[in-house]
Structures are given as C-alpha cells and as structure tokens.
Amino acid sequence: MAVNDVSFSINEGETLGLMGPNGAGKTTLVNLITGKYFTDAGDIQFMGHDITKLPPYKRCKLGISRTYQIPRPFPELTALMSVAVSAIYGKDRENQSLEDAATEATHYLEFCGLFSKRNVLGKDLTLYELRGLELARALATTPKLIFVDEVMAGLNPSEATKAVRLLERAKEEFGVTILWIEHVMAALMKAAQRVVVLHYGKKIAEGLPQEIANDPYVIECYLGSCHA
C-alpha cells in the first residue's frame, strides 16, 4: 500500500511541509489528490467540494495545481506556449484567445525569471529553468493550492536559495496555499508553518517544525532504525 490511512488538512494561506524518507509515498499522495490515481477508500474535500471522484482536469479548474519532481515540460512546445496552455485551460475563461493567453503567459514567465527564454523549446532548457517553468505553468492556472514537489533537488546552493525565494514571492503575490515536499530540512523548517511526516505510507507525525525536529520517532525513522 503506497498510502495507508493518511488524514490531514491544510488551511488556506499556509505553507504545509510534507516530509518523509524516499518511498514514503509523498509523491503518490500528491498524485492521489491531483487526480492521477483514484483512491480506494476515503474522501477528499476541497473548499467545500467533494473531489474524490473528479477527473484531474476538473480538479485543476477548481484550483489545484502541481509541479513535478522530475520536471515534465512539454518538450516540443516553447516555454511561452507551455504556460499559455495552462493559462487557457486552467480555469474556464471568457473572452480569451490564444494571443491573450500568450500575453498572460509572459507575466508568469517574467515572474519566474524566464522571459528571455520564452521561445526556447521545452527540451532545450536547463534544470533550473525547467523548475522555473514548472512553477510558472502551475501558477498560470491561477490555483488556490499548489503542490510543490522537491523543487531543490539537483540545484546548487545559490540556485536553491533563489528557488525558495521564488516560492515565497509566489505566495505573497498570488496568494496561493503551498504544500511543499522537500528533503532539504533547513529550508523546509524555515519556510513551513506546519509539517506532516510520512513513513512507509503512514502519517507518523504532524505539527510545528520545532516539534517535528525534536520528535524522537521521526529522528529514528530518518536515521533508519525503525520499520513500519
């Protein structure tokens, strides 16, 4: 069972950190909430709607968006087009043609610092730019909730700091709620208001960052001497 009896809630406007060793089921949890997989049991409530049975695109239109751990750009589309797709289809918009969507996409690209790369194909971008593109694409759907999946993996320290600052600015400017999956403890502890820890598919701790950092069970799991 990849995810077993996990229950938690996330409040509007907060940053929730999701931690856990590799294989704990974090990405699977995100897949379940965004709709790639359907749950076997339990239900998901989002802003008053029950979204357990909805297909992924309807969940997106309600306001859930995500980035991918290994960036999945649209390889044959330029950065501008990729974000424009999200801008068009993220929400049901009136009066928006492809040109208008492209204009809006430039706004998100500039926010992520990718405006100069807007005509570069998805397959030609570097890793740091790809992560920026993932964020721009997710933001273009004007979500209320974003799942950010390991944004700092593979980046050198200066790029990593820039990425974290980008997320902070996104929160300020667009007012999104962020659920942040991360392995780099220092950044997560500073940025998150609450943290949930998963281990082998089960939730083993939830609370404020300092409590989690001092929880003996969590420490034991990360050092590897306990089994589910």
Partner: protein, 345 residues
Amino acid sequence: MELEVKREKLVLRIGKGKYEWHIEPRYWRNPFIYVGILIVLPIIAYFVYPTLLPTIINANILVAIAIPLGWMTVGTGRMNFGPQFYIGAGGYAAALCSIHLGWPPIVTLPVTVVTCLIFGLLMSPLSIIAGGLYYTLLTLLFPLVFLEITFIFTDIFKGDTGLFGVSPLISGGSFGTNQLMVCLLSLFIMLIYMFIVDKIMRSKFSASMAAINDDEEVAEAMGVNVKKIKIISFTIPAVMIGILGWFYAHYYGTFSGITYLPLSFMLKVLMVSMIGGRVQIYGCVVGGYFIAILELALQYLVGDYSSVVFPIILLILLLSLSEGLFGLYRKRRYREYLPTLHVRR
C-alpha cells in the same frame, strides 16, 4: 456571435469564447494569391487542355483527404492508418441511397454526414483507450475488414464490380462544362477544408492538441479536457473524409470498395502528407498535386508498369526527402507537433 475585422486581425466571438487570427500582410505569404492560382488553373485547363481536368480533380480530392487526416493525427495524438474506412462508409451510403432511393446528390450528402458521424462516434473511444500502437494496428485493420464485409454481403454491396448508376454531381450542360463545374466544386471543398483546419490550428485548440501530443498526463493536470478534444478531433475529420467518399461516388457514378479500401489508396494519401513535409495544410497541396501529376506522368511513360513503378518512386521519395518537398522551403518553426509512435506498452 460577432466577427470583427481590425486592421491586421480577425476577431471572432462566439458566446463566451474569443478567437483571434492575424491577416497576413506580406504578399508572398498571403494565401489569397495561391488560392487565385488554384482557381484559375482549371479554367485555363478547360480551354487549353481538357484532359487535365480529371487529374486536377484527383489532386484536389487527395489534398482534401490529407488535410482532415492531419487534424485527426495531431488531435488524437496517434496516426490513423485507415482513413479510407470513412471514404468507403460515406461512398457506400451515398451510392446506396442514390441507387435504391433515387435521391440526388444534395440529399445524399446529409445521409453521408450522418453515417460517418455515427461511425466516427462509435470508433472514437478507440483513440482514448487504445495505446498508440494498438490504435495504429486497429485502424489499419478496419478498412480491410470492411472490404471483406462488402464481399460477404455481395448482394448489397456488389463485391468486386461495385455499385453503379449513381446520379452525377452536376448535370445539364455539355460534358466539358460539367467537368469544369465538378472541378471547381472539388476545389471549393478543398479550400473550405483548408480554411477550417487552418483556423483551428491557429487557435486555442492547437495549443491543447500540442500539449496532449507531448504529455497527456501533464496536459490533463493543467486543466485540458483530453477526452473531449480527442473525440472531437476524431469525429469531425472522420465526417470530413466521409464527404469525400460522397464526392467520389457521385463523380465517377460508380463506387466499389476495392478501389478505395485496400492499402494502395491509403498509401497514396499518406504520401501526400509525407511529401508535403508533414505540415498539416499548405504542404498537403504541394503533395497532392505532385502525386496526381506523378500518376498521370507514369501512365504516359510506363503505361502498364505504372502500378509497380509508382510505389517504387514513392519509396525513393520517402527515403531521400527527409522533410518532404515543402520542407525544403519551410524553415523550422516551433509548431511542429506531429506525434511519433513508439512501441509503448
């Protein structure tokens, strides 16, 4: 619904949707000139060299088949290897109605549209559930099975010899003027198809189709309703291709599955888009005229052997031109999203 013509833009508003297109100011890229040439061509041929008219009709129809096929390929994200199924369905529907019920072409047209709509809707779920390769295989097999059915129910479909006695498209006037009218009709159909598909390819739909081609799952996570786009992209081109079956039936006056359903015809259509450089619209025109003229030339030059030489030449063209004839001219732009097939599981 409201259409606005600004100085360099065309804006269409339907309900809550807005679609915007540029009007091309540069004269050598302005399609109206080429359309003008295409219209003038059969008129000149009528006066100078009337035997060229069937070739021009053939060329126009080949292009008109390749254009919706291009839309179907991009929209569903898979290559349909059996578009001639709809030509068969449309043609037989039109022919049967015309022969047994005596309806004129105007009346059999809606019958064809409805028939192909039904078949298209029935078969469109395949584009959703079947993976790329399975879809290719099944679409390849459908026309062959259809052909077998026409042989089995010989009393209805008249097997090998086909149905004949279908009322002609345009009557009244001499044979020559009739042919000219039919030729202009074929050109008209082709131009309408070009217009429709071009406008779709320049609008919001093309962005979603490109996204689906690249990564279906991510596209769906970004809010694209993948199923709806695939079904639309399958059914409407199917109907468009079926209308050409109607045209064939009424133009030749006979319709036999053996001419259109086996692979030889499909390969011709495929080569039209491949020679045209895999571009959906304008390249097909080049490809279609090229193939029609090639067939004509081979008839004159090698006569009997043309059925063997023709595929050989097509093969040589396929191997030597990597981007097609039209691709030699066209520079690489970013909108090249024709899907590739992989033996996925």
